[in-house]
Subunit: 381 residues, 2 copies
């Protein structure tokens, strides 16, 4: 078992109607003003926007708004948020939305306490030393962004999709109300399921040391996600399934699953970031294209874990059978498994490989994931 | 899924030699003095005592010592600690030892910030409002005390064994170094395994709502504990097994497993507290006596979960078969499964039932667990 530090101070308020207390939650920490960040208006279609504003007002909080966060969130918008937070001297940031909103508020929180350009953190030109306190109300389960310090942001000028990761931008408190997630479309439910499975299997397959306890935790998450996704496709209003999906998704990337493992990396995310940065495909759709291809390419390097996966998740024997089952399951829930299906031109693989190799260098993975190998993987997609 | 709040701000430093940094860990939080609490001298048999003192000195921390914490720790000793902490105006408490030491430092931490008698918290005469920061270095894995706000203390005068539970006494930071746990005797290894399994199954069997995700997490913990216990009985120095055992034990009672469940209670602990309070049997040994008896008595009330347990843990069919397998496994690892084996006089069941019913009233469980029913359960032991 590898040495590790586990520290996740985020408080989770899980359950029905808890978003209506968000103003008081923030106030109870002693903050008096907040930047409210949300997406392109879906929170105004339900009562969520009004409920949030009412809650902030009732708690006596001053607030500013920043709307228009898009899927694959942009650094330009983050910079807007940083500007407002600085100008108005806001004491906290609150994201109401999905993973993109959560990613954006974390970047804003860090940028608001930094004199330079917030993109510096993403290109590792500067280190995050402090940040405004982050709060989130989640409307989509997938990224575990509500309970970790990770944020992925796209720079539309440089065509880079890069990440930061520090406990300093872990949300202080996040609300997970499964009811808020029932309006998610079946497509996005499927993409979310793929994303959670991706978070679960990256370290599971790539770690050079992976205690069995961790394997069991990961398998618990995957089984739960698969089971509840199938229920939710049939009945989006199944609260129990929605709740289990959300909480399992949180556990997939809040630090528990990889604790004690060694050498795990995120190759599927690495390659997918290029697909969504260049072709604006949903992250989960990009992942379901990359994962089976990567698994076929990688399996021999950790064959026993691939065999374990096949047996534990699908009750089949052999790595190939397990990969096939997962690919079929992605198809079953309606997520693409080839570049074609995702509308990505296969003749641009060279360009994709070049782009992904840039990230690979930043992540220190170019020895294994370079233009040649990424191209090999994408050829299988 | 039931509404819940999940909040566990304890930082875990897991790995080899990390106890040698404990002085700096404490200092990094800004504290300058500490009460060092330990047991009856086993930390002086290894280098742990000297390493701890060196680390505190190197970090420039002032410290006082309180030794002599025993298994089933006593309120008299806690009162001693509170007195020293108050008199010397110490800023933090550090427990180096097993669950009893951790329990004691939490009680001391709460008592040091309270004008009345610390026992008031246990009899629910007063509520904990603040506490000194708690640090622990664990030498035994079982109680998850390193990552929760629970403490169980015995009042030797009133013959009560009662508990407190608040995140205010969660350790700020705990060191888990599996190497420090290799000197644990095979008996205590077995008792620890029983204790972790007990923590895992109480809510698993008694909750009126228990999401499948939670069942899977619990089963992951139990499988890991059973597998690693068997390895460690043969080879106490197996670091991997020791590490997985320790981390699984932490997860069993750090708040994750019951999150989202409803109505779970701790009847086996309730009854066992009486056995260890009256007869000073090790907690785990008392539990392995109570658990099979309680399972036989209770199974019909949640038969599907008992059937699930049998299948998932032992690959056998039927509640009875599962109970029998667990009982056999307790025997196999050398933990008693009858009152006789534990050296507890069966003719005193009436007295035990009376004593346990007192706790039952405090826990609000006397409707189900009263003199009559507890007597019925103990008759099966």
């Amino acid at each position: 078992m590898n040495d590790f530090t586990y520290y996740n101070p985020t408080k989770i308020e899980f359950g029905k109607g808890k978003e209506k207390n968000i103003g008081n939650y923030i106030k109870n920490y002693g903050y008096e003003s907040v930047l409210l960040v949300y997406g392109t208006g879906s929170i105004k279609k339900s009562s969520l926007y009004n409920d949030t504003i009412s809650s902030l007002k009732e708690a006596g909080l001053e607030y500013e708004e920043l709307s228009g966060i898009v899927s694959n969130p942009l650094i330009s918008k983050v910079r807007d948020g940083v500007k407002v937070a600085k100008e108005k001297k806001l004491q906290a940031v609150l994201g109401v939305g999905g993973g993109s909103v959560a990613d954006s508020v974390k970047a804003i929180a860090a940028g608001a306490k930094y004199d330079g350009d917030v993109w510096d953190f993403f290109i590792q030109k500067a280190e995050i030393k402090e940040a405004l306190p982050v709060f989130t109300v989640m409307t989509l389960a997938a990224t575990a962004s509500e309970m970790n310090g990770n944020a992925v942001i796209t720079n539309e000028q440089t065509q880079q999709k890069l990440s930061i990761g520090t406990v300093l931008v872990n949300p202080v408190l996040s609300v997970i109300n499964p009811e808020l997630m029932t309006t998610v479309s079946k497509d996005y439910l499927a993409y979310s399921a793929v994303d959670v499975i991706a978070h679960s299997i990256e370290v599971y397959f790539t770690a050079t040391q992976h205690p069995k306890f961790n394997s069991r935790i990961v398998e618990s998450i995957i089984k739960t996600i698969m089971e509840t996704t199938e229920i939710l496709i049939k009945n989006p209003n199944d609260y129990e399934a929605r709740g289990e999906f959300a909480w399992a998704a949180t556990q997939a990337l809040n630090g528990l699953a990889p604790s004690g493992t060694k050498g795990g990396v995120f190759p599927n995310h690495l390659i997918e970031h290029t697909l969504s940065a260049l072709y604006n495909v949903p992250h989960g759709a990009g992942l379901s294209v990359v994962i089976p291809a990567w698994m076929k390419w990688y399996k021999e390097q950790n064959i026993s874990q691939f065999e374990r996966f096949a047996k534990e998740i699908f009750s089949v024997n052999g790595a190939d059978a397990g990969i096939k089952e997962l690919e079929s399951w992605f198809c079953k829930i309606g997520s693409p498994v080839t570049l074609d299906q995702a509308g990505i031109p296969k003749n641009e693989i060279d360009n994709m490989s070049k782009n992904a190799t840039q990230t690979s260098k930043l992540w220190g993975l170019e020895k294994v994931y370079n233009e040649q190998t990424i191209s090999e993987i994408l050829q299988k997609a």
